[in-house]
Subunit: 398 residues, 2 copies
C-alpha cells in the first residue's frame, strides 16, 4: 500500500518517540528531495494549537517547504507561549538534522490537549527518524501509522495520471475518526504530488478542500489542530499550466478523487459509525447556502439517529433543513432517498414503506433535497449516531 | 396544581377528540373572559406549520385575542393549502361555538408531521370542549395534559405578585421534551396574566422568550410548530405602566421566573436526559455573541456525552467554544465548573480530579466561560446526551 511517498522525490519515516502511552508509532517525517510548493488549509477554530500558529507564520513568509514533522499523542494545544516555543524547537531540530535552512520544515501535532509537548522525547527521536527515511515509494505506511491517534485503520491513497507530457502522481495520508475525544482529536491530511504547480493554484486547493475534507462530518465538531497540506515538488517535470484544458481537468479530477477518498475514509472510521450517507442539497441559490443546509441536516442528531435506526424519517430531514438559517420556500421542496422521491412540493408522497426500508438498510446511500430556487448544489458526507458514539465519548475520561 | 387558569378571567378545558392513537386528551381550549392583549413568538424554522402561519396572519391584523384552541397528535405541518384551510376551520369552528368574532381565536397544533389534520374529529369535539370550560382557576391541568405529546410529565406554573395597586397573577403551561421525534416534535408555551399591558411590551416579551424558551436546548433542533404566546387580559385592574419602577421590576421578574421555570421543565424532561447543566458565557462583546458561544457548547455532542459520562472534560468545552464562529482570544479565557476555576489564560490549572468529580456527578451544575473581552453574558440550559436519547430516536419509526 503506498501513500505520501508514491509521487517522485518524496520519502518518509515513522518511529516511536515514547509520546503515546500505548508505545505505538508517534513521530512521523515527510521529506521532499527538492523544496516543494506548499498549499495549506487550517482549522477555523478560535482556539488554535501551537503547530497551526507556527505553520501559518512560516507560510506567511514563503510557500516553499522541504519537510513536515508530525507527532501524535500530544496536540500541543492550550499550552501557551511554552507550546509555541516547543513547536519552533520541533521544526528547528528537524531542520538541523536534515541540514535544511530556517523555515523549511512545517510541524503538526495531534493528541491530548493542555499537556506540555515532551520536546525532549522528540529531540531524542529525531536522529533515528531521519536515519529511517525510506527511499522513494517506501514507508508511506509507517508515516500513516505514526500520525494516527484513535483511528481504527490507517488512511492512505495514491493515484497516477498519464499526460502527454508524462506521468503525474498523487499520494496522501490522513488521520481522524471524528472529534471523538477532543483530547485526542484532530484531522490531519498530507497530500503529495510530483506535479509542478504555480502559486495561483492555492484558490483551487481551498475549493478542493471545501469539497472533500470540509464536506465531511462525524459529530460536527472542529478541532484545534485540523490541517490539510499539499506539497508539490514538480519532480514529474509536468507543469499543470503546460497541459491542455482537457488534460488539466483530468489531473485536477485525480487530485480531487484522492482527497475525497481520504476524507470519506475518515467518515467510515467515524466513532461508532455503522453507515455512511451522502446529503446532497441542490436547486439552491448558491453553493454556500446549499452547503449550509446540507451541514444542518448532516449534523442533526435526530437525523443521524434515524439513519442508525434505519428509519426513512423525511420529517426530520425537512425540519433540520428548515432550521439551517437559509431561506427557502418549503412548499417547493422535493426530497429523494436514492432515486425514490418521498416529498414533492413540501408534502409527502405515498411510497410503500418496504421500498424505503430497502434503501435505508444499506450501509451507504444518498439523500437529495431539491429546493427548486436556483442551480447550485453541494454534498456533505455524514455517518449515523449510534450507541457506540455515546459509549466511547461518555466513558472516555480525561 | 394551577397553571393557565390561575390569573383572573381565564378558563380552560381539555377533551379527547380521538386524534391521538393512544386515546389520551388531545384537544385543549384556553379562554379569556375579556379580549386579551396577545404577545407571541414563533419558530424561525423555514418550514412552518399551518397553525403558525395562520396565527401570524391573524396577529398581523390585530393583537387582541379571546381564546386559543390547541390539538396534539397531529402537527398540521407539511400539509400544504389543505392544512392551512384546516387551521382556519379549526379557529372558525371555535369562534362559532364560543360566539366570538372572526380572528378572535388562535390555533396551535403539535404531533405527526405530514398527515392531514382530522378536522372532522376536531369539529365533533368542539361543543363538548366548550361545554367543559371550567370556572376560573380550574382545568389548568386538563389543558396542560391535552397539549402534551411525548412529554413524560405535564408542565405548569403559576406565580402571584403583590403590588401597591393590588395582586397580579401569572400562569402558564408548556409542552416539549426536546425534538425527540420531529414527527412528534414542538415546544408550545402558553402564558396568561391578569396584568394590564400596553403594546410596547412586545419587545420586552421577545427578550424574555430569548432568555427562557430560546435559551434551552435538548438536541439543538428547532421544530416547525414552536410557539410561545402570552395573553394579558388586564382583569387584575393593575396596569404595568402605573406601577413604580421598583414594582415594575418585581412584576417583570415574576413573569421571567415563571417562563424560565417552564423552560427548564422542558430541559429536565429532555429525551433520556439525566442531568441539567447551565452554560454561562460572560466577558463577551455582546449578549448575542455570548449566546452563540453558549449554544455552540450546549449543543456539542462531545460536551453532552462528557456530561453523561460525568467527565470534567474542559478541552471539549473550550474547543466547542472556539468552533462557534465568534472571535475571541483563546489565551485570555478562563473556565469554571461551579466556583472551581479549571482554565486560566487559556491553559489548564492543576485541579485535583476528585474536586471536579464531586461537581460533575451532581444532577445539576453550572459551567462558566469568561472570554475577558467585554461585559456581556448569556446562559443556555442544556442536558446530557445519553444512550436513551439514541435508543428513543433510533427505535422510533415513522
Amino acid at each position: 500500500m503506498s501513500g505520501v511517498c508514491f509521487p517522485k522525490g518524496f520519502s518518509a519515516a515513522g518511529v516511536k518517540a515514547g509520546i503515546k502511552v500505548s508505545g505505538n508509532l508517534d513521530l512521523a517525517l515527510l521529506c521532499s528531495k527538492e523544496p516543494a510548493k506548499c498549499f495549506a488549509a487550517f482549522t477555523k477554530n478560535q482556539v488554535q494549537a501551537a503547530p497551526v500558529l507556527y505553520d501559518k507564520e512560516v507560510l506567511s513568509k514563503q510557500n516553499v517547504i522541504s519537510a513536515i514533522i508530525v507527532n501524535s499523542g500530544n496536540a500541543n494545544a492550550c499550552t501557551g507561549d511554552q507550546g509555541y516555543a516547543d513547536a519552533v524547537s520541533m521544526a528547528e531540530l528537524a531542520e538541523k538534522e536534515l541540514k535544511l535552512g530556517k523555515h523549511s520544515v512545517l510541524v503538526g501535532s495531534t493528541g491530548v490537549i493542555g499537556n506540555k509537548l515532551p520536546i525532549e522525547k522528540i529531540q531524542a527521536a529525531i536522529p533515528e527518524l531521519v536515519k529511517n527515511l525510506g527511499v522513494e515509494n517506501e514507508n508511506s505506511e509507517l508515516f500513516a501509522k505514526a500520525i494516527c491517534t484513535t483511528d481504527t485503520v490507517i488512511k492512505t491513497a495514491c493515484i497516477s495520471v498519464q499526460t502527454s507530457m508524462g506521468e503525474v502522481r498523487f499520494g496522501g495520508s490522513c488521520k481522524g475518526s471524528g472529534m471523538i475525544h477532543p483530547n485526542m482529536a484532530t484531522m490531519l491530511a498530507y497530500i503529495t504530488t510530483d506535479l509542478k504547480l504555480s502559486e495561483d493554484f492555492s484558490a483551487e486547493f481551498k475549493s478542493l478542500v471545501n469539497e472533500s475534507f470540509n464536506a465531511i462530518t462525524v459529530d460536527g465538531d472542529m478541532s484545534t489542530n485540523d490541517t490539510c497540506i499539499l506539497l508539490a515538488n514538480g519532480q514529474s517535470g509536468v507543469f499543470l499550466a503546460d497541459l491542455s484544458a482537457a488534460e488539466q481537468a483530468n489531473v485536477r479530477n485525480a487530485l480531487f478523487e484522492l482527497m475525497k477518498y481520504l476524507a470519506l475514509e475518515i467518515v467510515k472510521d467515524g466513532e461508532g459509525a455503522t453507515k455512511r450517507i451522502e446529503i446532497e442539497v441542490c436547486g439552491a441559490r448558491s453553493k454556500t447556502e446549499a452547503m449550509q443546509i446540507a451541514k444542518s441536516i448532516a449534523t442533526s442528531n435526530l437525523v443521524k439517529c434515524a439513519f442508525f435506526g434505519e428509519d426513512p424519517n423525511w420529517g426530520r430531514i425537512v425540519s433540520s433543513a428548515g432550521a439551517s438559517g437559509i431561506a427557502f420556500d418549503a412548499s417547493k421542496i422535493s426530497l429523494y432517498f436514492e432515486d425514490v422521491q418521498i416529498v414533492k412540493n413540501g408534502m409527502p408522497l405515498e411510497i410503500p414503506k418496504s421500498q424505503l426500508l430497502k434503501i435505508v438498510k444499506q450501509k451507504e446511500y444518498k439523500i437529495s433535497l431539491n429546493l427548486h430556487i436556483g442551480d447550485s448544489k453541494a454534498s456533505v458526507f455524514t455517518c449515523d449516531l449510534s450507541y457506540d458514539y455515546v459509549k466511547i465519548n461518555a466513558e472516555y475520561t480525561t
